[in-house]
Symmetry: C2
Subunit: 340 residues, 2 copies
C-alpha cells in the first residue's frame, strides 16, 4: 500500500533551517527484513540535536540529502520478523519521520504501556534521562548549592531545575521572554528564572544567585555560556549538554573567557551524551517516575499534531517557541494506554 | 643603607608589555617587623603568570602602579625577627624584584641547600610541581596514551612531556620555531614536537599523534587550543594550566569549537593552580628529584644575569625567547651550595 507518508531532506541548511529544506512524499509501506519489525509511528521526538545531525558527523553519521529525516519515536509493531516482538507491541526506537518504518528488533526498547506514551519520550525518555545523568552524574550537586540551567523551559532544562530542587539545591533558570520565565517559576517551580533577552540579564542572574553559581547546566553555549562563566564559584562545574545557539549558524563563536576563567576559578567543564550513562538508566527512570507520581516533578509536553507539521515543529523549536518537550503526534494511542 | 635596587611598576600595560612599564629606583634596605625576616635576593622566578597579575585580579590581587613588581624568589636571610629562621638560612618565598626584601617567616619555605638553588625555582619549584600536579592530578594519564603539551620548551611544558614519557605515554610538544622544536625532541627527548608557526602545523600534529590525543596540557589557549580540540579522542582531558596567548592582548578570543566539541567528544576541560595540590607537593618533589638523579628527567634552566635585566627577561619570555625555566640571578650563591 502506498499510503506511507515520509518527510525527506530536500536540501541541507548552510545556516538557518527552514521548512523548505524538507519535502513530503508518499511511498510504499516498508517490509521488515530478518530480525526487523515494521511499526506504525505514534509519536516522534523533536529535538535541537536534530539540527546538529544535519550539520555534520556528531555522535551519529550526518544526515544526507534524500534521507528520510531521522528521529526517536514510539511505534506500534504491525509486522515482526523477530521472535522477541509481535504485532501490537509498543516500542521506542530510532526511526524516521514517516507513518511507517522498519527498525531492528534488537535496537527497539519495549514500552510497557502503563505510563502515558508521551512520557516515554519526555520525562522517562531521553529528555528526562539527559537531565538526570547530566546533573547527577556529571555535575554532582550537593544540597545547598546553586544550579543554573539554560533553555530552562526546554525538554531537558525543565527537568534539570526540578531535579535540582528535589535534591535540595537552589534552581535558577535562563529562558527567553517574560512569559516563559513566569512559566518556569510558576509551573515548574524554579526558585528564579532570568530572561536573557533583557539587557540587564547578567545583573539579574547575579541577583538571582546571591551565593554565586556552583553548577551550570549548559544547553546553549555562546554568549550566555560566556556570561555565566564570570559568575561561577571556585571549583564550579559546567555540564556541557548542548550548544543550541551554535547549531543554526555558519559562524560559531566561542566564549572569550575560555580557558582563562577555567584556570583562575579551577572550573571543570565536561561534556556527555545520554548514552554514556546507559548503565544508570533504570535508576534514573525509577527515580523520575517516583517524583512524577508524588508530585515533586511536573510533566509538561508540547505536542504538535500531524506528521506533515514536523518540519515547522523543528524550525519553531530552534527559535524557542516550545514550552516543555516537543513531540509530534502521528497517530492516536492504541486503546488501553493511559493518557497524560 | 640605600643600596637596595627595586624595580617598580611605572604604568600598567593595556596590551603588549614593554620594559617602559617598569622603572629602577634605589631605596633603603627594608627592616623586618615582628615575625618577618629580611633577605638578600639570590634568584627570581620569571613567569608568564606575572603578566596576568598585571591585568587584573587572578588567584592573587592585581599588581598596581607604584608596586615593587612581585615575584617568587630564593633569598638568604640577613636579619630575622622570628625564632624559626636565622641569618644565613635559605628560603623560597613570594617576594619582589629587589636586592633586599622582607617576607613573613611563616610564608617562607626553608630550602635545604643540598640541591642547586636554581632547581628550587624550576624542577623542584612551582614549574615542576605545576607540571606534575596538572598531568598526574588533573589529566590522570594511563600508560600508552598520547599527551600533547603547548609551550613545550617552557618552564612547565618541558617537564610535562618528560613526566609523560616517564609514565609510559607518548609525549608530543607544540613550540614556536624549528630550533626550539629540535631542542624539545633532542634534548628533552619528547617523541615529537610540532612548530605552530608552520602553516601545516595542524596536519603535522595529526601525523605526530597517529592514535589521536588523549590529554592536552594547555598553556596557551586561543587558536592553538581550538586546533588541538579537533584532534582529541573521545573522553579526552584538557588540563587548563594557562592562556599565555591571551595575557598580552586586549582582545582575547575563545576557541570557537567550545562547547560544541566538548559535548560531542565528551571532553573534560579542567583548570587548576599549583596551590590546589599542596597536599601532594612532597610526593611530587620526591618523584621529580629521583627522576633527575637517575637521568629520566633533564633540567635546563635559562638564567638571565642582573636584577636590572628582569623587565627584559619577562618581556622576552612573553615573546617566547626562553628555553627552559627563566630565572634572574640577582646575587651569587652562598658558599657550599651545589651548582647546577
Amino acid at each position: 500500500m502506498s499510503d506511507n507518508r515520509q518527510i525527506i531532506v530536500r536540501e541541507l541548511p548552510s545556516a538557518e533551517l527552514s521548512t523548505d529544506h524538507f519535502e513530503l512524499r508518499t511511498a510504499d509501506r516498508p517490509v521488515p527484513g530478518e530480525g526487523q519489525v515494521a511499526g506504525r509511528t505514534i509519536l516522534m521526538s523533536i529535538d535541537a540535536a536534530n539540527r546538529a545531525w544535519m550539520a555534520g558527523t556528531t555522535y551519529r553519521d550526518a544526515v544526507q540529502v534524500g534521507d528520510v529525516m531521522p528521529t526517536f519515536a514510539v511505534l506500534e509493531v504491525v509486522e515482526s520478523r523477530d521472535s522477541s516482538l509481535k504485532p501490537g507491541d509498543l516500542v521506542a526506537a530510532e526511526s524516521v519521520w514517516a507513518d511507517y518504518a522498519t527498525v531492528p528488533a534488537q535496537r527497539a526498547l519495549r514500552v510497557s504501556g502503563t505510563r502515558p506514551l508521551t512520557h516515554e519520550l519526555s520525562v522517562c525518555g531521553i529528555a528526562g534521562k539527559t537531565a538526570w545523568h547530566g546533573l547527577v552524574g556529571v555535575g554532582r550537586p550537593q544540597a545547598g548549592e546553586t544550579v543554573v540551567v539554560s533553555a530552562a523551559a526546554g525538554s531537558v532544562g525543565m527537568y534539570v531545575g526540578q531535579i535540582a530542587r528535589a535534591l535540595g539545591c537552589r534552581a535558577v533558570g535562563i529562558a527567553g521572554g517574560p512569559e516563559k520565565c513566569d512559566w518556569v517559576r510558576n509551573e515548574l517551580r524554579f526558585d528564579a528564572c532570568v530572561d536573557y533577552r533583557d539587557e540587564a540579564w547578567a545583573r539579574n542572574l547575579a541577583d538571582a544567585c546571591p551565593d554565586g553559581i556552583d553548577i551550570y547546566f549548559d544547553n546553549v553555549g555562546g554568549s550566555i555560556l560566556e556570561t555565566v562563566l564570570f559568575q561561577m564559584n571556585l571549583r564550579g562545574r559546567v555540564v556541557c549538554c548542548g550548544a543550541i545557539s551554535q547549531y543554526n549558524t555558519d559562524s560559531p563563536a566561542g566564549p572569550r573567557n575560555v580557558p582563562g576563567l577555567i584556570v583562575v576559578k579551577r572550573l571543570r567543564m565536561e561534556g556527555f551524551i545520554v548514552m554514556d550513562f546507559r548503565h544508570d538508566d533504570r535508576k534514573a527512570v525509577e527515580q523520575l517516575s517516583e517524583w512524577v507520581q508524588n508530585g515533586t516533578v511536573r510533566v509538561f509536553d508540547d505536542v504538535v499534531d500531524g506528521l506533515e507539521n514536523a518540519p515547522q515543529a523543528l524550525v519553531g523549536l530552534l527559535a524557542g517557541d516550545n514550552r516543555g518537550k516537543r513531540l509530534v503526534r502521528v497517530a492516536p494511542d492504541p486503546p488501553g494506554v493511559p493518557s497524560a
